[in-house]
């Protein structure tokens, strides 16, 4: 050791009486940079508790916890992220992945507490001085870790598709499906929105793994009508998709269709359904639509004998008779039904209950009965001239189209209504050569039809006449129809939350058309409900126990005949539910 080594520590003493460079507390004047990554902030109204932040955190610093101020609701789990600052490394991956953009970071980084537990808190819920800070790090548009644009399924141009009933959407290629699946965060917020609660993230994950066989098996756990749903589902899952908050939602329906399209040739082999022990119990199913077919499939898997009573010569219900071929080709539906029938489901075609066989007989012959007859009768409007020749109901018209008939639409057709049936009638009429006006009493954003149906109908040339209602229909000497219409305005919201349309005084005007198709709602065939004598609601639908779909001792009802006109996926969910509770009843 040299002398210098001994002396040098004392060198520091020369600054003993200088003013120190350190900063005196409180350090309020040492603000972080404007984009500093400090303590987190979270807009809890915007946050949906999807858990993407928890999933991506490399330090496992984030837990999703229940908080008193947020409740679970559709599209929101009600959970909020709790961050442990003993683990957080301030990397901001949680901010960069956040699909709603609710999570951010303030530029506040100085905070002292004696209690280590204080450093675990729920940003935005627990009261902190940086809550509401406008400075700090936020997710940058270009740094979002999710691709905001969805893959676009190739489809025929409006000009090309409006002349025939061929399917116009071609399905995803492998590359497109994998790219689209790659956008999914697999958060699972969508599962609740699906009426049959399909495991969307699981089957999307199998597309990423290139294991479509497993994807098919996952879908079959909740939905045996996946090929039809992959084309025509109303995709409520996409409405709540987390990615949809800042970009385009994942094309979940198209991915479902992709798995269906790639696996249908080997469905029996992939599913490899084992024979089940037969219970000897018999279930009669009235109506071979999505509800009845789903119930039949699962009841067979539970070992019960099933007979479907179908009034038409083909199965499929509204999927067959209500949805035109260009949306759901008949052979796709048929191959899906055939798979269900291969599970030894007996079908009595052209058999109407109350005419060909009495309900009492059915009730006596079976251990349980499931009613899934749908809402097949088009509702009338209370106006004069409904019985004029040339005025059809939407369902009646679509059934003719589905049967391969080409009903007369003339040169100009008027469609009344704003739901999917109205859009199907519109687009079918265009394909039959008519120019179409759609008359709807509310505004476009209140139309219950799927947005893409409305968009595509307009692309094909349909003219929307919103805030308009027909008030009288007459036949002109020329054979054409003269339709008196009224202009409407929107008043107070009604029970459905939509604003009630009110006619404007003296706003009558007239349009002429060759035919008028009424698609203003559907109802359960009243003669049928009278025949079987079950309790009905004031809307004419069957009244059942809301949890079990049970109507009386051994009768269950579900689908449109219980909910009123709705989509296929709700009918599938009802069929599945009925199968479960019928089985439960048998097992006691």
């Amino acid at each position: 050791m040299s002398l210098k080594d001994v002396i040098s520590p004392f060198n520091a003493w020369k600054r003993a009486f200088e003013k120190p460079d350190t900063i005196v507390k409180p350090m309020s004047d040492r603000e972080g940079a404007p984009n500093y990554r400090g303590f987190h902030i979270n807009d809890i109204e915007k946050c949906i508790g999807c858990g993407s932040c928890e999933e991506i955190c490399q330090n496992a610093a984030i837990d999703l916890v229940e908080v008193a101020s947020c409740q679970a609701k559709p599209g929101d789990s009600g959970l909020r992220p709790l961050i442990d600052y003993g683990r957080c490394c301030w990397c901001a991956l949680c901010v960069d992945i956040c699909p709603t953009g609710s999570l951010g970071m303030s530029n506040d980084y100085t905070w002292i507490s004696e209690d280590p537990e204080d450093y675990r808190f729920v940003p935005g819920v627990d009261d902190k001085k940086w809550n509401g800070a406008d400075k700090g790090y936020r997710r940058q548009e270009e740094a979002w870790l999710v691709e905001p644009e969805r893959e676009h399924m190739p489809e025929k141009t409006p000009e090309d598709r409006k002349n025939d009933f061929d399917e116009y959407a071609m399905g995803f290629s492998d590359e497109q499906a994998e790219a689209e699946a790659g956008r999914c965060l697999e958060c699972g917020i969508c599962i609740q929105a699906c009426p049959t609660h399909m495991d969307v993230p699981k089957y999307i994950s199998e597309i990423k793994n290139k294991d479509l066989d497993e994807g098919l098996r996952i879908m079959f756990e909740t939905n045996p009508m996946l090929e039809a749903c992959g084309r025509i589902c109303t995709a409520k899952c996409e409405d709540v998709c987390a990615v949809g908050h800042s970009g385009k939602p994942i094309a979940i329906r198209s991915l479902k269709r992709y798995i269906g399209d790639k696996t249908y040739r080997k469905k029996d082999e992939i599913m490899d359904l084992e024979p089940v022990e037969q219970t000897g119990k018999k279930v009669g199913i009235i109506g071979g639509g999505p509800a009845g077919l789903t119930a039949a499939f699962y009841l067979r898997r539970l070992g019960h004998s099933v007979t479907i009573y179908e009034q038409h010569d083909k199965l499929g219900g509204m999927l067959k008779w209500g949805i035109p071929d260009y949306r759901l080709p008949a052979d796709v539906l048929q191959r899906e039904i055939d798979f269900i029938l291969r599970q030894n489901v007996e079908v009595k075609y052209n058999t109407k209950i109350g005419k060909d066989i009495s309900f009492e007989q059915l009730h006596k012959d079976n251990d349980a009965v499931f009613i899934g007859v749908g809402a097949q009768i088009g509702s009338d409007m209370p106006i004069t001239g409904m019985d004029t020749e040339g005025v059809y109901s939407g369902v009646e018209f679509l059934e003719k189209v589905a049967k391969g008939e080409r009903p007369y639409v003339g040169k100009e057709a008027v469609i009344v209504g704003g739901g999917n049936t109205a859009m199907d009638a519109t687009r079918s009429s265009i394909r039959l050569g008519a120019e179409v006006k759609v008359v709807y009493r509310r505004s476009e954003k209140e139309m219950p039809a799927n947005r893409e149906e409305i968009r595509e109908a307009k692309e094909e040339g349909a003219e929307l006449m919103i805030l308009t209602t027909p008030s009288k229909i007459e036949k002109l000497p020329s054979g054409r129809l003269k339709i008196e219409c009224l202009k409407m305005e929107l008043g107070e919201p009604d029970s459905s939350g939509r604003r009630r349309p009110v006619p404007k005084e003296g706003s009558e005007f007239y349009i002429e058309a060759d035919v008028c198709i009424m698609a203003v709602g559907q109802k359960v065939e009243p003669e049928f409900s009278e025949t079987i004598g079950l309790k009905v609601t004031k809307w004419g639908t069957f009244e059942v126990h809301s949890d079990t779909l049970k109507s009386d001792e051994k009768v269950y009802a579900g689908g449109d005949c219980q909910t009123g006109p709705d989509d296929a996926i709700r009918a599938v969910a009802a069929g599945k539910k009925a199968a479960y509770f019928i089985d439960k009843q048998f097992k006691g």
Binding site: G49, S77, T196, Y580, K584
Partner: protein, 190 residues
């Protein structure tokens, strides 16, 4: 700066020239030319300061990217000289004789990426990690989560909820029961 870029193109076959701003340029050279290139930049182009040496793990292409950041005090410009080395047997010539400060960076890279710099003094001594007995932690194939699960104990009383299960319990308990009951009917070995 343009002239300098032309010279290094000629002398060292510099590629991927990325002029990020007026005072900053990145380029890459072959591994064998790197030492000569930094020496040239130091002695003849005035880049007398070694700001740092950084590394990137390009696991997809099986290489490590090394970037030598140099600064010129006279004209206040920076260059980043990149080179790529094999990931399987990562070794790079040491430049500690050009800048003594390079020892610190090289020792750090040895520890964090496992890149060897033969001849660099104390290159094998621990830098920031003590008693590390795992893959170098900055490598892409180092599993951070697995490491911390094995090394640290979980905090007592910590719990998390799954958003899907939460929504099942709160919003559709009956349907969730149905789903569970029905799902197994289509599976083998139920």
């Amino acid at each position: 700066m343009e002239e300098m870029i032309e010279r290094i193109k000629l002398k060292f076959n510099a590629k991927d020239i990325n002029r990020q701003k007026a005072t900053l340029v990145f380029f890459s050279v072959e591994k064998k030319d790197l030492e000569a290139c930094v020496l040239y930049m130091k002695e003849f182009e005035g880049y007398s300061n070694l700001t740092m040496i950084s590394a990137t793990d390009w696991i997809e292409t099986g290489t490590f990217g090394l970037t030598y950041h140099l600064h010129n005090y006279k004209n206040r410009t920076d260059v980043g000289i990149k080179t790529y080395i094999d990931r399987k047997n990562p070794s790079m010539v040491s430049i500690n004789t050009l800048w003594a400060g390079a020892r610190v960076f090289e020792r750090e890279l040895k520890e964090m990426f496992g890149i060897d710099f033969p001849g660099c003094p104390r290159v094998d001594d621990p830098f920031a990690l003590e008693g590390w007995d795992n893959l170098p932690p900055m490598r892409k194939d180092f599993d951070t989560v697995k490491y911390s699960e094995e090394t640290y104990f979980p905090r007592p009383g910590r719990s998390t909820k799954d958003n899907v299960t939460q929504m099942e319990e709160k919003l559709y308990a009956v349907e969730a029961e149905v789903k569970k009951g029905i799902a197994k009917t289509v599976r083998k070995n139920k």
